[in-house]
Amino acid sequence: MGTDAFEVGVNFAKMVAIFLMMVQIVPLLVWVERRGSAYIQNRFGPNRVGPLGLMQLLADAIKFLTKEEFIPERGYPFLFYLAPVVAMIPAALAFGAIPLSMPVNVEAFSMLGQHWGPYVFKFQSYEIGIGIVFVLGISSLAAFGVLLAGYGSNNKYALYGALRACAQTISYELAMGLAIVGVILLFNTFSFSEIVTAQSAPLNFAFLGHKVEWSVLPNWGIFYQPLGAVILFSAMFAEANRLPFDLPEAEGELVAGYHTEYAGFKFNMFFIGEYGHMLVASALMVIFYFGGYTVYPWLTPETAPKIMAPIAGLMGWSTTSTAVSLLGALLLHVVFLTKIVFFLWIFIWVRWTLPRFRYDQLMDLGWRKMLPWALLNTVVTAVIILVMRHPWGG
């Protein structure tokens, strides 16, 4: 985690801050979801508590905390309490591995009569060399929280919901995994930051062994992998159990699915898991296909410090490279969040627009439509890359 006390401290604080950021986004998203659905359905939504109804979030949290503690008599208390905690872990761990901005360079300085640094702090909880595989593996563990909830409640609706969620998650994971193969073929790396770096350039590719560069467009994955992007995004909806794939919690059939017996903060923790999953899904979409935290040619790791240097001067801060680097990273972080918010809004938009699938349609779509299309995407990508990049005659 670091070589000395300062680095370990900062890394730990960073980790906690990113986790809390994920937890804090949940009430905001719930507010956006309620206001957005009201807007779509021509209602008002929560608008009484505070400006724009924003204090509703706080009121909800207090209400969640003061709800009566309840365990169903026939449930298994240990599993019942374990499930909400387990449900939060996969999203939190996966979100930690995603780079949220460029690294911050901290120059050497002296504090408490000691010399420290220099350091490079990544703008993420931890960087793992095989980032993509790690995130895929961790986020498929989300099925465990749901299964434990269904089994621990010992309620037939909850158990049906959990089983459906599990079957659906594993079915769509295939299409998701295959869609990502296309991205790896394109960038030849498992590391998120390398993928982002590769996209922070003008559109360039090899055409029959020659280098071609179009400087009007950034080198985003969406221009090479449009089909893969659509498949990945649809599969993400199923992974996060969102409409139109929210069969596990279909109200008309299963009351509320796996969290039928849950109330209060335990219920809220399932929400943290679900919205955390949406957050990870949006972040993956942005990193794979939409340039991550960069917008070439205006906002890249090279230009961001230059943009922020005058602002650091205006604020009266010393224009040392530490302050400028930090401000630049924050600027790119805002860029990344803006892109994520766009995808989160699509999640909400779709939920309040499309009706739910029937169960056989859902499984059919996953296995017999999306899997072959994802396979086709992989094969076509591989063949085109071979033809284009092969050193013809060279």
């Binding site: 985690m1 503690e69 909880s125 039928t260 296995w367």
Partner: protein, 123 residues
């Protein structure tokens, strides 16, 4: 190991966070009286028609088995995709694509056979 240590630390932190929240909410929440009707598992207000542990025939086991096979096949494609660019750059692109297309042929045949044998039918 040093790469995965922060993951472990974060996992422990999340667990502590979750348990602390559950504990705090159990401290300040309203204390309810236990009640035979309240403690029943929720089945839309009707008296429960099952007793003991809930037993459901799991019809998804075939799906689960197929998932494991296909998921392993897809995981095998990851290292191939990772090294594909290097193979092409060194002029072995056709070789590695040929090797993979043999693998993919088995994959596609498996999927085709699955559809034909009606393993992928749901009511």
């Amino acid at each position: 190991m040093s790469q995965l240590l922060p993951v472990l630390v974060l996992a422990v932190f999340v667990i502590i966070f979750g348990v602390a929240l559950l504990w705090i909410s159990s401290l300040i929440s309203e204390k309810g009286r236990p009640d035979a009707v309240k403690g029943e598992s929720y089945e839309c207000g009707l008296p429960s028609d099952t007793s003991g542990s809930t037993k459901i025939s799991i019809k998804f086991y075939l799906t689960a088995i197929l998932f494991i096979l296909f998921d392993i096949e897809i995981i095998f494609m990851y290292p191939w995709a990772l090294t594909y660019g290097d193979f092409i750059a060194n002029g072995f692109g056709l070789y590695i694509l040929g090797a993979m297309s043999f693998f993919l042929a088995i994959f596609i045949f498996g999927l085709f056979w699955e559809v034909k044998s009606k393993a992928l039918e749901w009511e």
